[in-house]
Symmetry: C2
Subunit: 367 residues, 2 copies
């Protein structure tokens, strides 16, 4: 067992009664979600934004880092960070969510990073728009995909690779797609892609390539691992599936009251309280949020705060005055495209784009 | 089941064959360790330092936050952040480690936050020394303990509480103990105790009270939950045990090569490479680090870089030139007090102060 293919094993789905494995725990220990109380912040502070790192955080020297633009272009380019910083500068507030969010709650459970519901964050990304740079390079009329390559290197399901993801040309040319070098007004942190990453507002996290070092325009559809194998909605291993793209609508409840350390069950005193949270969708603006306090049997409308921008989550509030007892809180977002959240789990083999309604157990304590 | 005591259950040890529970995974998803490749940084960047939050991150307004000093003192004090910032300012580089680091690798496994080996970080903490403030308040000669109270509130093993930890008076008066308001040159982040936390160099993390709002000098030994119940080295539930205090020596290997996504097994090409990592102890300076590549059967000395300060981890390096094959790397630190790391697990019911040698599986690939 001394070849890459022998060490790195195929993807799998857990047996029906299989508990969380040591390997899943190991991934949970290094990748991390937003602590749900941090849904209180409009902009997620450094270190509280979710983080999914496929391999290792690479050691990239910003002083010598160069971004190349090549492939099917008229004028290949190479830009260092100083050159990128001299270009037009814009900031977008963007909600990022991991495509695998909610995976560990699925039955049966796809075995990978075991997210519960917390793989999300909302940050201000500053950089320069990609589209003008591509236009300067001169994208060939027959171009199909634009491939983004990061500096992170590893093995995944037997395939040794630098992390690479492609966007269709039309998506790469959207005006809001950024080459970002700052997050929340500070230089990118190592774990968020320093010194340069892609930001594709509205898309799940896998598209926002970190430690970006190369952009290659291709006249053929990209068949690399992360597009053709990993991030696809499949029923089974033989299904070619559909690509994972934009973020499905989701609302999260900021758990009210205070927690039990071990179970994280919430305790709350009786009486009036405001329950709040955030809602987002990568398809269209969030139009409504409904709240349940009985695990989905009944729903009531929440109040929506003003929108925080085209790509940012939106705060919602719900006035509640519970008697002592046990409750299961959840919230359901609906966007302007008519998409909403299911109360029965959607399922695919990778556990992607799962926006099942959250369940927050709350005990309103009599004492 | 609508009282705090019914919802919050006693501590327990897992059955011999019991897998990681949903509750442990939930804790792992919100608390997080240092990704081991981040051992490359002398000072751990924001967001990569380990984090253990007993309850929720509280919402503390720095503009109105006040620290009170009361109890057995001649002159009770109340200071806001501006007043604390006007006092003498010092910076210490301090390695912090969670007392529960390594818990999830123990057999049998104490059921709590399921750390593997990554609950550590090294940061620069800036603030004002505590001792002069206590002297100004005038600590009563008969004082025994100094109790530190945070703004975080929750339930733990049936006990509703604000987080509180006491230090013996002599430890509270050590010159290096800080009231810290900055980390790595920036204001404290919410998750690290903003706007004020205690720093007790050399002690495990539970002593470094976050969101610090009160200091109470007591003429009796403090019997609060975190001192008398939680952080004790016990053989069984009836053993009163010994308090958890200073950090036992530990070395960690920065895993060489590149990882497999799912198993995190490391792959490496044959030939010369430098293996490195960090070593620390809260008892005395690290004097030596030894490295094993065969899971502990044989050991060879590592080179130590210059020390990074009295309370900071120290870098070590080891030249290695492996042939293809499978290896298990580990490192063992010994400090000037003669303390070192075991290759057989130490065990106590809380899984505290466990400094068992790490095991890093490396496959040197032939291809």
């Amino acid at each position: 067992m001394t070849t890459v293919g022998e060490v790195s094993r195929p993807s799998r789905v857990a047996d029906p009664d299989e508990a969380i494995s040591a390997e899943e725990l190991q991934l949970a220990a290094r990748n991390h979600g937003i602590p749900l109380e941090a849904l209180r912040y409009d902009v997620t502070p450094a270190g509280l934004h979710y983080l999914l790192i496929h391999y290792d955080i690479p050691d990239v020297d910003p002083a010598t880092h160069t971004l190349t633009v090549d492939g099917a272009v008229a004028r290949p380019l190479a830009l260092d960070l100083a050159a990128l910083r001299e270009r037009p500068r814009v900031t977008h507030r963007v909600t990022l969510e991991c495509a695998g969010n909610g995976r560990a709650l699925l039955h049966p459970r796809p075995v990978s990073q075991p997210w519960l519901v917390e793989a999300v964050g909302n940050a201000e990304w500053t950089g320069t728009p990609l589209a003008p740079l591509l236009r300067e390079a001169g994208v060939a009329p027959e171009a199909v995909d634009v491939v983004f390559t990061g500096a992170d290197h590893g093995v995944e399901r037997g395939v040794e690779q630098d992390y690479q993801r492609a966007l269709p040309v039309a998506d790469a040319l959207r005006e809001e797609v950024l080459l970002a070098y700052e997050m929340n007004g500070a230089p990118l942190l190592p774990q968020h892609g320093a010194p340069l990453r892609l930001i594709v507002p509205g898309w799940y996290g896998m598209a926002h390539v970190k430690w970006l070092r190369g952009i290659t325009v291709s006249t053929e559809e990209f068949t690399g691992y992360q597009n053709a194998v990993a991030y696809r909605l499949r029923r089974d291993a033989d299904d070619p599936g559909e690509p994972v793209t934009r973020i499905e609508p989701r609302a999260l409840v900021r758990p009210p009251g205070f927690p039990d350390f071990m179970s994280r069950t919430r305790m709350l005193r009786p009486g009036p309280c405001t329950v709040d949270g955030r809602a987002w969708s990568g398809h269209a603006p969030v139009m409504s949020v409904e709240v349940t306090t009985d695990g989905g049997a009944n729903w009531a409308p929440a109040m929506l705060d003003a929108a925080g921008g085209d790509w940012s989550w939106r705060r919602w509030r719900f006035e509640w005055s519970p008697e002592p007892g046990r409750y299961v809180l959840g919230a359901r977002a609906t966007d302007a495209s008519g998409r909403t959240q299911p109360v029965e789990q959607p399922w695919n083999r990778g556990g992607f784009a799962n926006n099942l309604v959250q369940r927050v157990e709350v005990v309103v304590v009599a004492e």
